[in-house]
Chain length 123, copies 2
DNA sequence: AATAGTAGTAAACAATAGGTTAGCGGTAAC
DNA sequence: GTTACCGCTAACCTATTGTTTACTACTATT
């Protein structure tokens, strides 16, 4: 017997538990303040340290450095040092795994735009 | 003249800036450790304080309380006190705006599952 | 009368994230 | 020679976040 005249949930009980666990894992990896922004910048062609720092507004070298190390550990960027270049150049490149985040980023970006409109309209 | 033989970016430069700004806004609102998990639980039919605390593994009353206040301010839950009930009952209900997060949650949940499989397989 | 649940709040504290400043070794341009 | 860019790193500090414990006021059950 199911609750007779109540709001029907947007997610079933099973989906709830599943979603709770899965989003917990996802947020653990990509939920940081900077993580996805770095990923977006790398996917957009910004591969160098200082280029990334310039592109991502407000990030400090210290934080960028430690975030890049985490991302590398998780396989979300690949760090490549080009030794044969005149000044040795370090590049952070997207991987196949990075590209699996495209739908997540798109969904977030779409929602973020809607939310911005909502906020700016009401004030 | 565009870079001749390089990896072509997954996002264009314009999309990059757009995505950076929009996801920044989105993460500001829903990027917290608990935010989306509470939203999922509320959308799944868990409407009461203690029910939420039981459902969301590891959250303390203090944090749940303050997160619910934030969510209410952002219009992502509605706090309803049922005064006519024998013991006064407080409910946290999803709103229309909450439901705009469905795609975001789905995308995150799908990615989180994939990521979990990836991690458990390699160890 | 005692216990337990409901919906929290207060206080005190610990942990983590993030920011600021400074600097290093190298190259290259002025 | 001095300045500046590159890719960082160390030390230090602050702010946010989260934890624990205890407690409130009320109701219902045993």
């Amino acid at each position: 017997m199911k609750r007779p005249k109540e709001i029907k949930p947007a997610f079933t009980e099973a989906r709830c538990a599943q979603h709770l666990s899965a989003t917990e894992d996802a947020i653990y990896v990509i939920g940081g303040k900077w993580t996805l922004r770095i990923v977006i910048a790398v996917m957009s062609g910004h591969h160098r340290f200082n280029d990334l720092q310039r592109t991502i507004n407000g990030i400090s070298a210290r934080v960028l450095s430690s975030e890049l190390k985490d991302l590398e550990l998780n396989g979300l960027v690949e760090r490549v040092v080009l030794v044969d270049q005149k000044p040795v150049v370090t590049e952070y490149l997207p991987t196949d795994y990075t590209r699996t985040l495209r739908e997540v980023i798109s969904a977030l970006a779409i929602w973020g735009e809607k939310h911005k409109k909502k906020i700016t309209n009401r004030e």
